[in-house]
């Protein structure tokens, strides 16, 4: 029992509810939201070190023993993601102060933002399948409102598609829950895992596993990403950045959890299908990133490539592959927020997202340009930066089990990332400076700091890989040994 586990969920929840009462007091809203995110992050750091010392931490809500009550489980994988969520949310929140606009701030932006974090953190920490569904709905509802916040024409149009896609996938989620419950008679993840391990994973359970794969692929943008480029292009920058950094990653987390803890008995069926999905996702994402000449489209297609790449590490189910995935997942959450914030700043300065109309920003904004350049190199995986280790390990993992095609496509996709990011860099930052100071549509005042903060975290992740290695290795080991998770929950 560890009561701290509930804190990253309950602190933003309570603060968010309090903030609903004071929609006009912007200073209070800003201060309290920052406090809530920072407090959650610090507590998570504490939990992380406890896990390193004492193994997986659990909390049985209301004192109801598992599998009868709802369990909260903090293993290293989920806690690492919660910590990264808090870091990214903190930076996006600071960016929002200057960029989101007073109108949106009074339209309950901060409570909604906190509820989004509640849902994301809760999804990472819960140990119950139905509770996972509830937390999915919590962050989805918050994201429905955030994506349409402001109510522009395009926003409303895209948010409708986003909402309907997610309603259908939520319905499928519940279909899966119902089937799994009627087969196994439990919804506790640890209990599910042990029961399926006892009874064997027959064809019916594998079919249900594939149903869950469809659901989480829709949320993660794994192959079923048709909704993603549209809906991530329309909201204000701070919101788009937090979406790109967090929402698809929750889907990825769910795929990892289900296919390492519960449905890991038939890898030649399920994991091979995941591998094919990942490969196709990377190819399509690479084509999109290379083909478009629009800042936001290029960045959203880069999100899609990375989803395919992270999941490729899961396919291997080796220690190297999983370590690579975890490492790349953390790196990707930070770096996607970073490039989305920079992309949004470019659009703010120029008033357009069409790359053909943007040129020579580096003369007046050298900091922005070089930070983007470092971020781009990091995404490609140039050695000392944070993307490198993840790529090495994932490629190693796929090669170890003989899926050379998957690793190869992953490396090829990196080339396309390089191409698309350099295309963006050269078009937007190099060339003739066409905007004078007066012609710029906005100012970068106060926007550079959160971007720089994210870059520092990213650099620390790359240069300080040695220190983070212990945590990532621990997380991979816990994912590979479901018995650790089961023993911690069921005792």
């Amino acid at each position: 029992m560890n009561n701290l586990l509930i804190m990253p969920v309950i602190i933003p929840l309570i603060v968010g509810m309090v903030l609903i009462i004071f929609p006009k007091n912007i200073i209070l809203q800003r201060a309290l939201s920052l406090f809530a995110i920072a407090a959650s992050g610090l507590i998570t750091l504490n939990i992380m070190n406890q896990i390193l010392d004492d193994g997986i931490q659990t909390l049985q809500l209301g004192g109801w023993e598992a599998p009868f009550g709802i369990s909260f489980v903090g293993d290293m994988f989920s806690v690492l993601l919660v910590l990264t969520t808090c870091i990214v949310a903190f930076c996006c929140l600071i960016y929002a102060f200057r960029s989101i606009g007073e109108k949106n701030e009074k339209l309950y932006f901060y409570p909604l933002f906190l509820f989004l974090i509640v849902g994301v953190n809760g999804s990472f920490l819960t140990g119950d399948l139905f509770n996972l569904y509830v937390f999915f709905e919590v962050f989805l509802l918050a994201s429905y409102v955030l994506i349409s916040l402001g109510g522009g024409k395009k926003q409303l149009r895209e948010s409708l598609k986003y909402v309907f896609t997610n309603i259908v996938s939520s319905a499928f989620f519940l279909f899966g829950v119902a089937y799994l419950y009627s087969i196994t008679g439990t919804l506790n993840l640890a209990h599910l895992s042990s029961r399926i391990a006892e009874a064997g994973q027959d064809g019916l359970i594998t079919t249900v596993a594939l149903l869950f794969l469809i659901v989480f692929s829709l949320k993660a943008g794994l192959l079923l990403f048709f909704w993603l480029p549209g809906s991530y292009s329309v909201p204000p920058t701070a919101i788009a950045a937090i979406f790109a950094a967090l929402l698809t990653k929750v889907g990825i987390y769910a795929i990892f959890r289900m296919f390492t803890l519960i449905f890991y008995h038939e890898p030649q069926v399920t994991h091979l299908i995941i591998g094919i999905l990942a490969a196709v996702t990377m190819i399509l994402g690479a084509l999109g990133a290379a083909g478009f000449m629009d800042v936001r489209k290029i960045l959203t297609y880069n999100v899609i490539i990375s989803v395919g790449f992270i999941v490729a590490g899961l396919v291997s189910m080796t220690e190297a592959g999983l370590m690579g995935s975890i490492y790349y997942l953390i790196h990707d959450m930070i770096i996607k927020a970073l490039v989305f914030l920079i992309g949004g700043t470019i659009i703010l300065l120029t008033g357009t997202s069409n790359l053909r109309e943007i040129s020579g920003l580096i003369r007046r904004h050298p900091a922005l340009g070089w930070m983007f350049f470092i971020g781009a190199l990091s995404m490609v995986g140039i050695p000392p930066l944070s993307g490198f280790l993840g790529k090495v390990f994932i490629t190693q993992g796929t090669f170890e089990i003989g899926y050379f095609w998957l690793g190869g496509i992953g490396l090829l996709a990196s080339l396309f990332i390089l191409f698309s990011m350099i295309k963006l860099f050269m078009n937007a930052f190099w060339g003739e400076t066409i905007l004078t100071e007066e012609e710029e549509k906005g100012s970068t005042k106060g926007l550079i700091f959160p971007i720089a903060l994210l870059l520092i975290f990213s650099l620390a992740l790359g240069l300080g890989a040695e220190g983070i290695q212990v945590y990532v290795a621990e997380a991979a080991e816990q994912l590979l040994n479901p018995s650790l998770y089961i023993d911690a929950v069921l005792k």
């Binding site: 395009k154 309603i167 279909f175 009627s182």
Partner: protein, 112 residues
């Protein structure tokens, strides 16, 4: 009994899918709502439609009905209710702002 309910669920999903594929916003909302209802039916059936006793201890009875699916759909219904309410408002706003409720006109492929 489970067999009959399974057919009902199938019919509901069919109608829901048909409505989801139509062009009018309101029909799509109704379709999504119908699918969610069929899911609720499925969950309650997944626990088995036994005619057992109420799951209360101390009444001296044996053979209880599984109470968990009922608790699950209670939550699912509430969530579905909130989402449907939100979608209706969103659709109305979109209709006012965009001037159409035809999804064909809301494609937004200006990039192509």
């Amino acid at each position: 009994m489970e067999f009959v309910i399974a057919i009902v669920i199938g019919i509901l999903v069919t109608i829901g899918t048909y409505l989801l594929l139509s062009r009018q916003l309101l029909r799509i909302v109704l379709g999504s709502s119908l699918i969610s209802h069929s899911v609720n039916l499925l969950i309650i059936t997944s626990g088995g439609l036994k005619t057992g006793n109420a799951p209360l201890l101390g009444e001296g009875k044996v053979g209880f009905t599984d109470a968990l699916p009922q608790a699950l759909i209670l939550t699912a219904i509430v969530i579905n209710f909130a989402v449907t309410a939100f979608v209706l408002v969103l659709s109305y706003r979109s209709f006012k702002v965009n001037g159409t409720d035809d999804m064909e006109k809301l494609r937004g492929n200006e990039y192509e």
